[in-house]
């Protein structure tokens, strides 16, 4: 009695099997299960790839707007009676004129331009006209005049930012309907903008200042940029590079080449593999407790961020470096020792140079990881609003700064939806940096990798 006869028993007249070429019921079932299984696998890969595409495309479509900005070009009469009351063009006197004064000049200029162009729109209030220009524009104009006092008394062509709502109108974020419900803009203001655009005075252009401007306050999303954040991130990467790479490489050399097999070595190794898996926010707590509360380093400073990220990237660098050292064949070491080199000489003169490409690749990947890290930086106060650029290193390392990923977080906490566009734009900048670093790592690996 076999299984086959058992299962076939209740059938009335068991048909003789026709041919091997015709699949029976059970084979068909098994084949169906097989193709189902394959489909599951394929769809899993498909879902993962779709998720990647949706993620990247949503960030890109949201963020690309941050790189374009709407500007209004208009003649501004820089009235010398208001800007330089003494008439001596003394820089100190000129600095006394506040942004308020410049704001009035700009208001006047916009009103004049509207009148000159003969634009008449029903329901257009004076406030609509003067609010067309960003609140930041007066500060920019003031800086321009302070840098160049001869302009006073002349009528200059100024290219000024328009307010965030009008800018959003040209990027599809604001519509006539939403403007009607919005206290910061009105349909008439948007019509005015359209009219100015028809006259060629208002245009949406490529926005370099997004990359160079510092952060701006809640009411002026149109002026916000990632300049300070890029610089802060750069400073932190410098600290990580200077500290994590030598320490990481030295630690791996010791553990891989010199360490005796004893308890201490075991403890160190277990520690490193555990540190690699500790949640990043725990490093933030360490940074807060050790560097800020205990050591008294300043909050928001790139040096603290750099130190925290150094501790965080060390395990990554150590693991990569050890793998690279392990990949160098023992024959190299033996040959060096055989011709009379000391152990230290064999490592530093022969093994380390051969492991260099692997170490570099691991380092770059560790740096990329550190560049994108946010959570520990929130705890050490990098999330503060910073408008001033930090000074040059080394003193600048102690000045307050922001960092790219933290700037993104900061902007997501603001009320104005225009900041979401800025946040996505900052992410594009961050991803471009990461992409460059990864391409460099791949390039180094391709170019220098040796197979023994």
């Amino acid at each position: 009695m076999t299984d086959a006869t058992l299962s076939a028993a209740p059938a009335a007249a068991p048909k003789p099997r026709a041919s091997l070429l015709i699949a029976d019921e059970r084979t068909r079932k098994r084949n169906a299960a097989e193709s189902r299984f394959r489909a599951y696998g394929l769809s899993a890969i498909g879902i993962a790839l779709i998720a990647l595409v949706v993620l990247l495309s949503s960030v890109l479509t949201d963020g690309i707007g941050a790189f374009r900005q709407t500007y209004l070009t208009l003649p501004v009469a820089l009235d010398s009676a208001r800007l330089d009351k003494n008439g001596n063009r003394d820089p100190e006197d000129i600095k006394k004129a506040t942004t308020l004064t410049y704001g009035k000049l700009l208001d006047q200029a916009v009103q004049n331009t509207v009148a000159q162009q003969g634009i008449a729109i029903a329901g257009l209030t004076e406030k609509d006209v003067s609010d067309l220009v960003s609140k930041e524009a007066s500060a920019q104009l003031r800086n321009r005049v302070i840098a160049n006092p001869e302009l006073i008394g002349q009528t200059v062509d100024a290219r000024v930012l328009v307010n965030g709502r009008v800018d959003g109108y040209y990027k599809g974020r604001v519509s006539m309907d939403s403007a009607a419900r919005d206290s910061n803009t009105s349909p008439a203001q948007l019509q005015l903008a359209d009219a100015l655009k028809d006259k060629g005075l208002l245009a949406t252009q490529w926005n370099w200042s997004f990359l160079t401007n510092p952060d701006a306050s809640d009411q002026r999303p149109e002026a916000a940029g990632v300049g300070v954040a890029i610089l802060g991130s750069l400073y932190m990467m410098l600290v990580v590079l200077v500290l994590a790479v030598p320490i990481g490489v030295a630690a791996s050399i010791y553990l891989e080449e010199f360490a005796p097999k004893n308890r201490l070595t075991d403890i160190i190794e277990v520690n490193i593999s555990n540190l690699a898996a500790v949640p990043s926010i725990v490093f933030g707590i360490l940074g807060l407790a050790a560097f800020i509360n205990f050591a008294g380093l300043p909050q928001s400073a790139p040096i603290v961020g750099g130190l925290v990220l150094t501790l965080m990237t060390l395990p990554t660098i150590i693991i990569a470096t050890r793998a690279a050292l392990k990949a160098v064949p023992p024959s190299i070491r033996d040959a060096a020792l055989g011709v009379g080199a000391s152990k230290m000489q064999s490592v530093f003169h022969h093994v380390l140079p051969l492991a260099m490409p692997g170490i570099l690749t691991g380092t770059i990947i560790g740096l990329a990881q550190a560049l994108g890290e946010t959570a520990p930086l929130l705890l050490i106060g990098m999330v503060a609003f910073v408008k001033n650029f930090p000074a040059a290193p080394p003193e600048g390392l102690f000045d307050p700064a922001s960092a790219l990923p933290v700037q993104v977080y900061n902007w997501t906490q603001r009320a104005d939806p225009a900041f979401f566009e800025r946040a996505s734009g900052a992410i594009i900048v961050l991803l471009v940096f990461l992409l460059c670093m990864n391409i460099l790592a791949i390039f180094l690996r391709r170019k220098f990798e040796r197979r023994w």
């Binding site: 394959r38 993962a48 990647l52 949640p279 407790a289 060390l314 994108g372 946010t374 959570a375």
Partner: protein, 396 residues
């Protein structure tokens, strides 16, 4: 005297020491380097290292312990130390001096110190959190922290700081994340290692790994801007389950996407480590490929896969930015996945950012939360590493 000047002077002294030591020892040997114990540059290095390294350490430690230190006192102390090192080693520099051994011993000491930093970091983490957690438990009873079911910090006093709602949110979100990432990651790994052509594998594997290289803040923004509103408009509101953009489901889904490459690359390694002979045996007996995978490969790889899942779970529990932006801030214990809930990491961030008062239990509780988080993830990691290591030995 700014620190950078001190640094420059110390380095200049070391460089000068290198040159002087080298030339002096060579002159003492009558210009014949064969009469020296070590190669000439070792005599130079000996002086340079003993001059620069102790002084640099002094500067670093002093600045760390007392950042506002008088720069002149600091500079003077560093220069004195550097000069002492310089003259001491210069005095020892004779042709008989075993310079190479001295240098190598010094370098070895430096290497050991560098590798100790890992231990120092761990000790720093544990002690800083233990210390502040001790402060916290002196002001707030531990029973109410671990078993309290209400989280409502009030800076006026009388706050209730029970961890259970946070723990519930953390576990719920992690559960959803794992429910998303384990099937997808595992099937992707199986398909890539058992079925895919080398070409598909060559394209899909790096692309999936791109997901692992994307910073978590990007996922957080994705949750906040895209996934949250979409879930709210198409699922939660039509089904009448809630009207919040940030929810357990949002954070869980996005975190699941983040964990896909983590699960898939770990499982891929483990499935590839299963010996080919097991597959050949099963196929030879007439099983289909999927039967081989289900009945032979997966059971053989199971301990490793469990290890990978535990590692993914520890990642999910410690993840911060996705839940900060996607899960909301309301501490509640609820089963509805479309409600906003909160996690341990979110509360650590919210208690420690902004104006903080390090004497108040509302701030100190963050350290207790951090310690809890550290212990949970450490436990998961230790178990996972143990399982993975034990399994690897099986087939080697």
């Amino acid at each position: 005297m700014p620190v950078s000047w001190t640094l420059l002077i110390v380095l200049a002294m070391a460089a000068a020491g290198f040159a002087i030591g080298r030339s002096r020892v060579l002159a003492a040997a009558g210009g014949d380097s064969r009469r020296l114990h070590s190669r000439t540059s070792y005599y130079g290095w000996n002086i340079a290292l003993f001059t620069a390294v102790p002084a640099l350490f002094l500067i670093a430690i002093w600045l760390f312990a007392q950042p506002q230190a008088n720069r002149w006192v600091l500079g003077a102390a560093a220069l004195v130390l550097a000069a002492m090192g310089l003259f001491w080693t210069l005095g020892r520099t004779t042709p008989q001096f075993r310079a190479r051994i001295a240098v190598e011993g010094f370098v070895r000491g430096l290497l050991i110190m560098c590798s100790m930093i890992a231990i120092l970091t761990t000790a720093g983490i544990v002690f800083s959190m233990l210390f502040e957690t001790g402060h916290f438990f002196r002001q707030y009873p531990w029973q109410e922290f671990f078993f309290g079911t209400t989280w409502s910090p009030r800076f006026g006093g009388g706050s209730q700081l029970g961890i259970l709602p946070l723990l519930w949110g953390t576990l719920y979100i992690s559960f959803i994340a794992l429910a998303v990432s384990i099937p997808i990651g595992l099937f992707a790994a199986i398909y890539m290692s058992e079925y895919a052509s080398p070409r598909l594998r060559g394209i899909a594997k790096p692309l999936i790994e791109v997901l692992a290289g994307i910073p978590t803040i990007v996922y957080g923004l994705f949750a906040l801007v895209t996934v949250g509103p979409a879930l709210r408009d198409y699922f939660a509101q039509p089904l009448g389950l809630g009207s919040s953009g940030s929810s357990v489901m949002t954070a869980g889904l996005v975190m699941g996407i983040m964990l896909i490459p983590f699960v898939s690359s770990l499982s891929d390694d483990i499935i590839n480590a299963v010996p080919q002979s097991l597959r050949d045996g099963a196929l030879g007996l007439g099983s289909t490929k999927s039967e081989t995978v289900r009945n032979v490969v997966l059971p053989a790889a199971l301990p490793g896969i469990v290890g990978a899942i535990l590692l993914a779970a520890s990642r999910a529990i410690g993840e911060t930015m996705i839940v900060v932006l996607g899960a909301g801030a309301a501490a509640r214990m609820d089963l509805n996945p479309f409600e906003a809930m909160t996690t341990i990491t979110v509360k650590i961030v919210s208690q420690l950012t902004g104006d903080t008062d390090f004497a108040a239990p509302e701030t100190l509780v963050a350290f207790a939360l951090g310690l809890t988080l550290f212990v949970i993830t450490l436990g998961l990691n230790v178990v996972a590493l143990y399982v993975v290591r034990k399994y690897r030995e099986q087939y080697e």
